[in-house]
């Protein structure tokens, strides 16, 4: 067993609002191994993005109130802002959902892609630009040397996301966090960007954390997957096992709510009933129980912890932990 590259232990991040304290991340633990691709899945507002931002310590105005983020043996939550800057963009790079707004409109793309090199390696403008153009070419931007002189608005959405990826990769970071990298793009472009991310993962050996609400994206990309609900991890395991035999009713319902080509027989799609919970005032016990069709009396009383269920998976559910298989009407 290799040493994990990144280890998140019992992370808690809160937001103070007018109406109360929002526990956006509520005791999340997982690890990321070198070179792997890990998927984090959940509905919007389940805390997956805040988890990623907390790793980068960019969660403001939220506050990390507990837990640790150990990266290469150092706890990032204990780093000074100065030390943190040495990690951001150099060791851990991040790309965001909307490539339209994530690039600064008033600077040339080449300049922006080269910026991490000037910042972290202290390279001069010329050397960093050569490297930036090289990287733009490797992420599939044609005639990169010319395009580097263009401004972001002169690129299409897909091309801009390629620019974002190039910008993240210039310093060859150990981890790339991709927060909904394809959500804002057309379907055909989505596939191209996912191809690129897969390619990057193989070629650079960059460990990738892929955050998405789209189960289809996870299926094709990730070796392991984490499912989050209401700020907590409800299920974790190898992607194939989780998809084949979900061990948490939430995962189970998520899989039933999307069309699948490999469905054994024609099953009607079933949306998950009810609304995502109010993070300020979580239900007692398991946060999912009001929407859960498998709930038992204990679910509204005690909060289940993430425990091994089966050989390879872990789930936070009283029902499956007691050995019951999830089978639905």
């Amino acid at each position: 067993m290799t040493q994990p590259l990144l280890e998140v232990n019992d992370l808690h991040t809160v937001f103070k609002t007018k109406d109360g304290v929002v526990k956006a991340v509520d005791g999340v633990s997982f690890e990321l191994n070198p070179g792997e691709t890990l998927g984090i899945v959940g509905e919007s507002g389940c805390g997956k993005s805040v988890t990623a931002l907390s790793i980068m310590r960019l969660q403001r105005p939220g506050r990390i109130v507990g837990g640790s983020v150990v990266f290469k043996g150092h706890d990032l939550t204990k780093n000074t802002e100065e030390e943190m800057r040495e990690v951001r963009g150099k060791e851990i790079a991040m790309i965001f959902q909307d490539p339209m707004t994530s690039l600064n409109p008033v600077y040339r793309t080449g300049w922006q892609v080269a910026e991490p090199l000037r910042l972290h390696h202290g390279w001069d403008a010329k050397r960093s630009m050569v490297s930036a153009i090289n990287m733009l070419g490797r992420v599939g931007i044609p005639s990169a040397a010319d395009r580097a002189r263009d401004y972001p608005h002169q690129f299409s959405g897909g091309m801009r996301q390629r620019v974002m990826i190039a910008m993240g990769l210039t310093t060859t970071p150990a981890v790339l966090i991709a927060d909904e990298p394809t959500t804002a793009l057309d379907v055909t472009i989505q596939a191209q960007i996912l191809d690129l991310l897969r390619h990057v993962n193989r070629e650079f050996g960059t460990a990738t954390m892929l955050i998405t609400h789209n189960l289809g994206v996870v299926a094709g990309m990730c070796q392991r997957v984490i499912v989050m609900y209401a700020g907590r991890i409800v299920e974790a395991g190898p992607t194939t096992d989780v998809f084949a035999h979900p061990k948490h009713p939430y995962t189970w319902s998520l899989l039933r709510s999307i069309p699948r080509l490999d469905a054994e027989r024609h099953e009607p799609l079933k949306p998950i009933e009810g609304l995502p919970p109010n993070l300020i005032d979580l239900p007692e016990g398991c946060a999912f129980h009001p929407r859960c069709s498998f709930r038992v009396e204990r679910c509204s009383r005690d909060t289940p912890r993430l425990q091994p269920v089966g050989d390879t998976q872990r789930a936070a559910c009283w029902v499956t932990q007691s050995g019951v298989e999830l089978k639905g009407a």
């Binding site: 800057r85 990690v87 963009g89 965001f96 600064n104 409109p105």
Partner: protein, 323 residues
């Protein structure tokens, strides 16, 4: 594309300049009656002299004829002679304009230099005591009548200090009449009027920068910049400020006509021999040619300011296309 845009704007500007000057002449014509400029200077004038004067000045002709003659002159670079003192309008403008540029230029410069950091600090610390204090000061800055602020400054820094035998600041003019005129003397005279003018600019612009900075700081590309590991200073000043300043350019461009009109009240209060004060005095005396000349330049400045602001906008914001 750009050349075409400028050309179109230029043509539109000509219409504006013609419209404003024609309106000015029409106003003077309809309100002056049979008044002849300069007539009060010599009470011994006989009616036939006055009639001759009127004919000399072309005032007996219909307005449109007078206007056509004037335009013809302007096209040949001739703005005519003042109807009061006979010297060329151009010499008056050339005499006064540098003073005005000195005053307004200083005020705009001070305004920008103070407003930008104040606005940025307000945005970075928004919701804190510092921010609230600056908000209160700038809201007050909008509400103070400039002429009254000028009077109060004169009362405090010239009159009261002088009464107590303390070093005081001059309250009027651009330089001392006696032994004056060197750099420090001019600077002394500049302090009070420039303070009044720049206080107004600071109030307006700092609020503007604050809100535009707040908006910029919430943008995704600022998060990207932070995720790249930049220092907060670099994030704010390199990635934020450049974007936040773009709209300010328009505001400052629109302030260019202030060279003539914005500073007028301040020039009158502080007896500053600028072009606004010239226009004010000559309009009171129905000095047609001088008023027309100054109106022409004032309108030209407005138009030029607008155009300049638009063009600068394009330089600073690569997304802008002219068409």
């Amino acid at each position: 594309m750009l050349a075409k845009y400028v050309a179109r704007r230029f043509l539109a500007s000509i219409v504006v300049v013609l419209g404003v000057t024609a309106l000015t002449l029409a106003l003077m014509k309809t309100t002056s009656g049979s008044y002849v400029p300069g007539i009060d200077l010599n009470p011994a004038l006989r009616p036939e002299d006055i009639a001759r004067l009127r004919a000399d000045l072309g005032l007996d002709r219909p307005g449109w004829q007078w206007y056509a003659t004037w335009i013809w002159g302007v096209l040949h670079g001739d703005f005519g002679h003042s109807m009061i003192d006979g010297s060329t309008v151009w010499s008056h403008v050339a005499d006064r304009l540098p003073n005005t540029i000195e005053l307004t230029g200083t005020a705009i410069l001070i305004g920008v230099l103070i407003a930008i950091p104040v606005g940025v600090i307000g945005a970075l610390r928004h919701g804190t005591k510092t921010d609230h204090t600056m908000t209160v000061v700038s809201v007050a800055g909008f509400a103070v009548p400039q002429f009254w602020m000028g009077l109060i400054l004169i009362l405090v820094f010239s009159v009261t200090l002088e009464q107590h035998g303390l070093p005081w600041l001059p309250s009027s003019g651009a330089y001392s009449a006696v032994n004056g005129g060197d750099f420090f003397d001019r600077l002394e005279h500049l302090v009070l009027p420039a303070t009044v003018l720049s206080f107004f600019y600071i109030s307006t612009w700092s609020r503007f920068i604050r809100s535009s900075m707040l908006e910029v700081l919430s943008q995704d590309y600022i998060r990207t910049a932070r995720a790249k590991g930049m220092s907060e200073r670099r994030v704010v000043y390199l990635h934020g400020l450049r974007n936040a300043l773009i709209p300010l350019i328009t505001l400052i461009g629109l302030e260019l006509p202030g060279l003539v009109s914005g500073g007028l009240v301040v020039e009158v209060v502080f007896g500053w021999p600028g072009i606004g004060k010239l226009a004010f005095e000559r309009a009171l005396q129905y000095d047609y040619t001088t008023v027309m000349g100054v109106t022409f330049f004032a309108t030209l400045l407005v138009v030029a300011g607008n155009l300049l602001a638009d063009l600068l906008y394009g330089v600073l914001d690569p997304r802008i296309r002219y068409g």
